[in-house]
Symmetry: C2
Subunit: 391 residues, 2 copies
Amino acid sequence: MRVSFMSHFRTQRYFRCCVYALGASAFFVGSRWALADTGIVGLINKPFSVSCASVPFVTKFPEINLKNWMCLPVSSVDQLQLSDECYRSKMEVLCMELQGRLCKEIEKIDRKAKFKVDKWERRAGGGGISCVLENGDVFEKAGVNISVISGNLSGQAVKEMRARHNEIDPNKECKFFACGISSVIHPLNPYVPTTHFNFRYFEVDLGNNRKCWWYGGGADLTPYYLFNEDAKHFHEQLKLACDQHDELFYPRFKKWCDNYFYLTHRGETRGIGGIFFDDLEDTSQEKVFSFVKSCAEAIIPAYLPIVEKRRHLKYTNKEREWQLVRRGRYVEFNLIYDRGTKFGLATPEARIESILMSLPRYAQWNYCYDSSQDPRNQSLIEVLKNPKEWV
Amino acid sequence: MRVSFMSHFRTQRYFRCCVYALGASAFFVGSRWALADTGIVGLINKPFSVSCASVPFVTKFPEINLKNWMCLPVSSVDQLQLSDECYRSKMEVLCMELQGRLCKEIEKIDRKAKFKVDKWERRAGGGGISCVLENGDVFEKAGVNISVISGNLSGQAVKEMRARHNEIDPNKECKFFACGISSVIHPLNPYVPTTHFNFRYFEVDLGNNRKCWWYGGGADLTPYYLFNEDAKHFHEQLKLACDQHDELFYPRFKKWCDNYFYLTHRGETRGIGGIFFDDLEDTSQEKVFSFVKSCAEAIIPAYLPIVEKRRHLKYTNKEREWQLVRRGRYVEFNLIYDRGTKFGLATPEARIESILMSLPRYAQWNYCYDSSQDPRNQSLIEVLKNPKEWV
């Protein structure tokens, strides 16, 4: 598999600019969790090593089964059933599966709140499905959004892409297709970390039956109180997904993640990282798709056992305050640095509510907040300032 | 007075980039309010027209009187006493006066909370005084910050400035001086608007006893519930300040303000505007300084009577929620669009806490918040989408 390791800042920009400039609002991929039938509730209070060990790592997505999804897909079901030959459809099915599975698992854990399902259309082609749950007993705000868009690349977008994909002719419009899933989950309890992931596929028609394509994505964890075993578990699951395809992937994508989710003005990372990659391409598309699928399939077993393990811990107003202060940092990252958000917001006709779904329900800014009052705050800041190898 | 009306986006950028790249964190100017002695408490519940009429518009700042200030100034008092000949000193005195006056008036209104006074030094030259009050009975968060910095302009900063000030040689370092005051005041009661103002002076040494200089600044109001008479009063006070110097100023700077404080992705302004200007220069520095001083002197009579008038209105959780949702928009503006904040955050050694003092203590983001539930929300949004002539 050939992975382009040019500056991730530039490659990020090329991808996102093009996608967002064309109206996609938020990007994201599908996964399924093996414990769906037995439920994750059974994991509560069991030793962590046991609960993790009991999560089979890779579970193939089933054939199309509409009842697993949150609503009808953006593309027609007939078209998606061609997925064995068509990577656009395979990616859309992956997104639909992960969205459906994750939303249902979240509702099962929360018990109180339900996802609001907003299906939207894009005038220039395609559309999306935004699923957002708010004010739950466990989840304060959880969004799992899909975009499936297509159309023509503008001259500017083509120009932005050319430095990477110089097979694209800057003098003519190119047809493009982009499909992705993106999710941010903010639990209520300060002991339960926030998580974010997104996976996306991009395809550009070069004319004369030629095309270029690439994948991008990643997942990261943002705890408010650091539990080393949770950080280790999250990274272990992602490493397993990577190692199946190339043992060089995890260390590279872990570092990329630490570099990307970095607040320069604070001198700290957004959270304890995970993996992040872009511009994945290869002579075999099946190889790359299969890697992205493994990552997507790792999301639920990487995150939900941590939710189950920490959701019942008692907390005070002081701990809630620290969480809101840290959520302020999350807002800072998303509005100041995140290229997807920035390009999304700058895009005419973008669906703002889907893009800003990533922001927490509440955030707080105190002048010169004294984080030294709790040594646990310092432990967290220490790993944010000096990213750690968790596995 | 010659005012450069090239694209304000560019001129903003030139100024701010240079100032912030050199480590100033927040910029701001001084003013004094005539009713200081009688107190503004007497204005409560009186008809607005009377209270406004009773505020003499311009009040000269007194000679230096250290007890009016929040602490000792950044420059030595001896140096500031040369202020009749030196515009650097005159500006610093203006800033100190307004900071002192405003902070004391705010404490008088609040009764409970006191300003925390943080004096800081900049390694490369100068420093600042950040005054922040939090968790008051009337004010949730109020910051009034001064910066007085000097040093050498980097090659990059010079390059950024040249398009305007082409008398500056890009091939050599220039000495610069920047002094400003910046303030954001977030009251607790949703019926009391947030206000922001900043005034700043910039000077570049061109060598051979030549220099160039300019002023910038502005003030704007962000209500959560719209009272036409408050908006009118605020604009009237600023217009009076402008009209004393040039009747073309208010309409120009009012429009500039509406254009600058605009959230493109929301299609609305941050608030109901005010005035905003940059790159003010003239053959007579006294003229420009005098205009900036008038604007600075208008701040307290423009804003505090509104605080007094609305602070006792009863409000519910629903109204508080709407305020926090709108404060989310304030955060969006400051982190996504405000050039001062952006350059400040990107500056090595910047004082982050002073820059982000402008963020509200609490903000909220709800997915697809239903603002139509209260017709008053719609009235506000209407004027944010279609800026109005208030006077």
